[in-house]
Symmetry: D2
Subunit: 358 residues, 4 copies
């Protein structure tokens, strides 16, 4: 259970890290959308391992194939099925952990839950699963673009290195100019050097991805339980290694007074706007037409190249040794995943909002 | 849409602040559970307005009535319907904001979404809606108790006043000993004084509620999208005024190294345990048997007793004046709501986990 | 589980025959719909027991109360909560069957499923539950009416007495002119006499309700699993005592040749139409703009006034004696229920169809 | 929308008749189930075109491949992804109907709903889609077998040729001994001859498939809307060409008296049983432990080899000429599809029933 996401623009995914393949079905993409395969490919490149010196050197080609739902270049309204075959599986790499529980991985919990697990590369719990999300998210982005909505994420923190600028003060077009995907070139360099040091020490570190959606019309969100912020939060917390989510003023906002935090309304032409945006574009769980922004916290990658204490399936003490090719910090590759999940939520809620009124 | 929560232990709520009444249907409560009405009543008292000098002086009796699903004191497996009639409605209080958008409330977004709104007391967007959640959560708690699971929340921050102790260092039984619901008596006093000052300045302030669940068996959680942490996050972010959610090491965890953050496994008798618990009891989206803990950030209450700039439905500039009886800080009354939503998630995932294996 | 129906126009019901009350939440009714309470009341009168000599003489007042979701006479887009309190409960009537399983009732299956049951009047399995459906269906009908869609059911068979006219050959406006709700006055009289005889013999008999929806636009239906006919079928089969569903040519259609059964297309002005309508207005699971029609088979009412062989909870042989006030034939009162469920499906699918295209 | 089925044992399908491929994700198969690929292959052979002289001579190899969710021969609890690539596509066959609406097909309704359609072989509306259902159903059957439940369908009627024996009077093991899949050898021969005649006249005919499930424990079914019979009905009505569903006494039952129709209870050892089974094994929407049986009506195949009146997308009168390779009667190939859908419902409800009690 739990492998579907969304209500009207719904995705269902399958696939393990080292099985035969992964894939996704998008059920509910409206008919008539032009499907740009080159764009999907580009999005997947952004997530792909081996893309720079600060990501894992593992090679995964991530070649997707659309099997259905698209006819003569356009969506037909029927389910879009996509598969990504696994090619660089190297299952032999994983023999050494077949019966050991890697600390802070999902080995133990999958074993407890199911009584069986595909231990190769983490199986279903591997971040490889997110490739299917990025493929689906690319189609959600096309739908959003059709309606003038864009979504863009960037790295705002790595370890202690934290951007002190708001997204308005940054030039987000700089994001893709560097391998860490931080729109501040100076900070980007610091972050890259820092991650490189971490990598050399065979360790890992966490980080934060910030995300902004522009052009979102007022009215998206389904209170009370399916508030837009709640669904965005769930989407982000469903990504591997995520430990926290905040939107608008977030955890810092708790320190403010109401008189300072409230976003005063004014009129700009026909449009009602707010002078500040501590609400992060969402009030009462519904978008208000201002930019939506939120932050997502990623823990340090659990796979480290250092020996660790653990137990095996028999309950015996064992040492887990680092081996293989892994990311010292997940955030640069997490940027397109955050965007994909955000796009999926917005596409879904855009369709849901069509039922609001007579 | 969006007024149901849960998959197998599912609640659906209805009701506006100043309508005739509110209510909830619980569909999926297993048969045979003893229903303790006094316990439900007690939970609702904890959420009730007017319970202390630092909460709103508004009176709401919150008398619930169980209409179905319980026979001779036990759940029957059929839907449990509960209603809470509104008695202290005072709709006249709200004439002054009938066509004005209160800053950082949901007035504007509801109007945009639906083209119509019940403006009295915020209508559906009022926190009064959470009374139905607390009633349902009380039943979820009884189910959890039957399986040896407890959940307890407390206030860990008000404005800048932040507990620097972990939940393990606190005596959580102290929580209900003071009106702010902070288990550290010294800090509690400071927080109460601070909120009292805020109240006198006719302003409001935010805060953080922490929550701990004990006795949760390993194996709860439905990856990949319905991870236990993702569902908890959604549940919390669906509560009025919540701006952020983190579990385990949370946003602070991003600063750590993997070697420091990873939770080493060891064996305690038959049981596999972790030496630290940065995972917050959840690995790969599935509970691992350790305590689950998380934090929830609440913004300052939007209703302040100070004049504010705004616009009305016609788009004209207006002043919104504070009026009525409101909370200077929401966190003391949010404690039972956080527990209720947490209990609902755990009850639901407990039932879901029954399908894991043959 | 299983007490909700619909996707975007979703109802959730609760309540037992002899509990405190029943009710329904409608989540997803678009905002701005004028809610005519007199119309709801009238629909409930049509379902009400005691309405004629051929229905049970049991008295239930079926007074509903709208608690939320309607403001100044219009739907607001928030959940519409309705309750119907039980007044004529007479629980004492049921002591004699407290531990006996009435043949072809749900006593045994509820007991097996849940290990406990509210035996009074069948508890949740009582057809009294359908009062909530009729209340919700009345609102669905108002929504349909706004879009020019009507739905009308009638009795087409009682026992062996079967109308041999198609709905096109009947004057459906006659339906409500007689107590059996058969639009053919002559046949109506025969049916009434027949049921009266059945009643006198302390027995019961089955019947068929036919239903026609007019004005349904082409394009409603969600293949492949949620075909319009599949959802209509489920809706009807969820009504108490229903044993079969067919649409268009139905079971008779299997005898036809394809050349005879196929509905030839032609153009009427701008509109594509079919010369015959063996499809019952649905092709490939999607409405084609022609009238939708279907039939629903109801078994003889299980409660008879004749002694029957059975067993009790202890597994001992017992005699179940008929007692109480029951319907000799369910179909006259089933007419508004069939309409209600049909209206709920159509309202839901109308909203779903808004997401078909860009 | 509408391409998923089930709650806990949930399938999602994709794929068009002449696209690149079809597939299915099973989400919720419990871990630890032995997956017998040869059995799946055999089930798919039973549905496959070209299997006998009375089915279409079209060749589709229906080779499936399991991409995930199975490890070392057992289900792991993660989604089982399966693909079936299309090889014998022959799209050129369909140029002649690219803009014509074939009578009683889904061409017109898909065009109206989506504004675009993949016209090749009916696209998504083709019965080829059911291959994915049969693959998933085979896994559901394995799960049922583990719990001692079997499901078996057979042809009970073709045109006017109708078996007058109940399933108890038949030797269901004979079903697969002939190409029509009728367990009565004499009737089977008549049916085969009849279909062969129909085929020679370039026409088609309808039929009925009956189905029996044995070993189903009491307690499956989720009233009130998700009654077991309602879900079975929906499952069957979601199959291409189905026009009706009835269970137990069905449409014939309406003619009976309650005193005749009611199934008296008695005790057989520890087990409560019924003397007759007009209930079809389901009472109040919940299985009672007796055999479940139902019938499904299939209309004559819409593709005939005879010229037909129709219109094209421009609304002009056209003639649709029969061409290609099609089935004169769908029922022999429908038998495994009915079983598959029945198995999916029972597997799902078996898992759901685990939440009934504490």
């Amino acid at each position: 259970m739990g492998n579907s996401f969304g209500k009207l623009f719904k995705i269902s995914t399958f696939g393990e890290s080292h099985g035969e393949g992964l894939g996704v079905i998008i059920d509910g993409c409206p008919a008539g959308l032009e499907i740009d395969e080159a764009f999907i490919r580009n999005e997947m490149q952004r997530r792909k391992p081996g893309q720079s010196k600060i990501t894992t050197q593992r090679k995964e080609e991530d070649e997707f194939r659309i099997l259905s739902g698209v006819f003569e270049g356009k969506s037909t309204g029927t389910p879009i099925g996509m598969v990504i075959m696994n090619t660089d599986q190297k299952s032999k790499d994983y023999g050494h952990i077949a019966d050991k529980y890697r600390p802070s991985h999902a080995d133990y919990t999958y074993q407890e839950k199911y009584g069986i697990r595909d231990y190769r590369g983490g199986g279903r719990s591997s971040a490889r699963e997110t490739s299917a999300r990025v493929a689906a998210g690319a189609i959600a982005k096309m739908l959003l673009k059709h309606f003038g909505i864009s979504i863009q994420a960037y790295v705002s923190q790595v370890g202690d290195l934290k951007l002190d600028k708001t997204y308005q003060e940054l030039d987000l077009e700089q994001t893709e100019q560097n391998i860490i995907r931080c729109p501040d070139p100076e900070m980007a360099e610091k972050m890259i050097d820092f991650i490189d040091d971490i990598r050399k020490s065979r360790d890992t570190v966490g980080g934060v991805v910030a995300c902004v959606a522009k052009g979102v019309p007022a009215g998206l969100g389904e209170p009370v339980f399916d508030r837009l912020n709640a669904e965005l939060g769930k989407a982000m917390l469903s990504i591997n290694a995520v430990k926290g989510f905040e939107y608008g003023s977030g955890f810092e906002g708790v320190k403010m007074r109401g008189s300072e935090h409230n976003d005063a309304f004014y009129t700009e032409g026909e449009r009602v706007r707010t002078r500040t945006n501590h609400s992060g574009g969402i009030q009462g769980g519904i978008s208000n037409g201002e930019d939506i922004y939120f932050k997502v916290a990623f823990k340090p990658v659990a796979t480290i190249m250092i020996d660790q204490e653990s137990v095996n399936e028999a309950g015996e003490s064992v040492t887990v040794s680092g081996k293989g090719r892994h990311d010292p910090c997940v955030v640069p590759r997490a940027v397109p995943i955050v965007e994909a999940m955000g796009a999926l939520v917005l596409a879904d809620y855009l369709l849901l909002s069509r039922s609001n009124k007579l």
